[in-house]
């Protein structure tokens, strides 16, 4: 499991643990002390990212789930999630 973390808006921590096999995301856990309403949006993002190629547009995938759920993320953005995944995979 590779991981990376960063401080995001409001000093919140975003930590992502990710497993990749043959260029596919196999397991991803998005963790930290940020807020997301509704909370299960994050679980949906984790599920949706699973089996995606690492060079696909992950930010777009994340943003679409946020929009679909009419979710509000406080202290973390789709861009942050995308960038921290990529950092973890470096």
């Amino acid at each position: 499991m590779k991981e990376s973390e960063r401080k995001v808006e409001g000093g919140k921590l975003l930590r992502i643990k990710v497993d990749v096999q043959e260029n596919l995301i196999k397991n991803v856990s998005i963790e930290g002390d940020f807020f997301a309403h509704p909370e299960n949006t994050i679980e949906q993002i984790e599920q949706e990212l699973t089996n995606k190629e690492i060079d696909s547009d992950l930010e777009k995938i994340v943003q679409e789930i946020i929009d679909k759920n009419n979710a509000e993320l406080v202290g973390v953005t789709a861009k942050d999630i995308n960038e921290v995944i990529l950092e973890a995979l470096k």
Binding site: E5, R15, S29, E31, G32, D33, F34, F35, H37, E39
Partner: protein, 249 residues
Amino acid sequence: MKWRVIELHENDAFFHMAMDEAVSEAVAQNKSPPTIRFWTWKPSAVSIGYFQSLKDEVDDSKTKELGVDIVRRRTGGGAVYHDNLGEITYSIIAPENMFPKNIIESYKEICGYLINAFDSLGIKSEFRPINDIIVNGKKISGNAQTRRNKILLQHGTILYTVDWEKMFSMLKVGKEKMSDKVMQHVKDLVTSVKDVNPDITQKQLFEALKNSFTQGKEFETGSWTEEELTRAKQLAEEKYSTKEWNYKK
């Protein structure tokens, strides 16, 4: 709309998390009025935010040794040590349309009740977005909110006194145990009511909180319903006290 106020009561971490959810459900179904309750944790407990990894945040062998519970909250935010005697926690549960739609604005409004309570005790405090209240630049209260089924739940803790050694023995910073340097750093970042004014009693703090939370509201002092209690016991047993929930990350 008439509010229900449930005065200071103690219970364990699993029950409290379950009661917040049970009351939220009852308010959503129009079976219960909007509710404010004040409570303490018995036994002491560590709560972690919904998205946190338990193992990254808490030394669970140390909590076990000290008889301290660990519970995952249904709200985001960080890990907090809730000492049985060291704090007062509140929950406010109401239809979300009674508060600003904007999340930060709603934090600001509810945290305003805390600031007024501190004010009445002669303590000058301020709101630090996203979800903290600070005194002299140090955190004295952390707050966490969720909204589900058009119901807003915000719970938060007010530090009355801090047992630094105990707190540092259980919480991890990042993935490391706290070093002396980190401990000093946290002491510079966190304060408590007793720290600011040792003469204030916990009862005075509770009264100040109750007065400020209810100011301008029509309210009745009451308790939970039988239905809420039954549901809370079920949620405590089937969700909040389980490994599946608490160790899911």
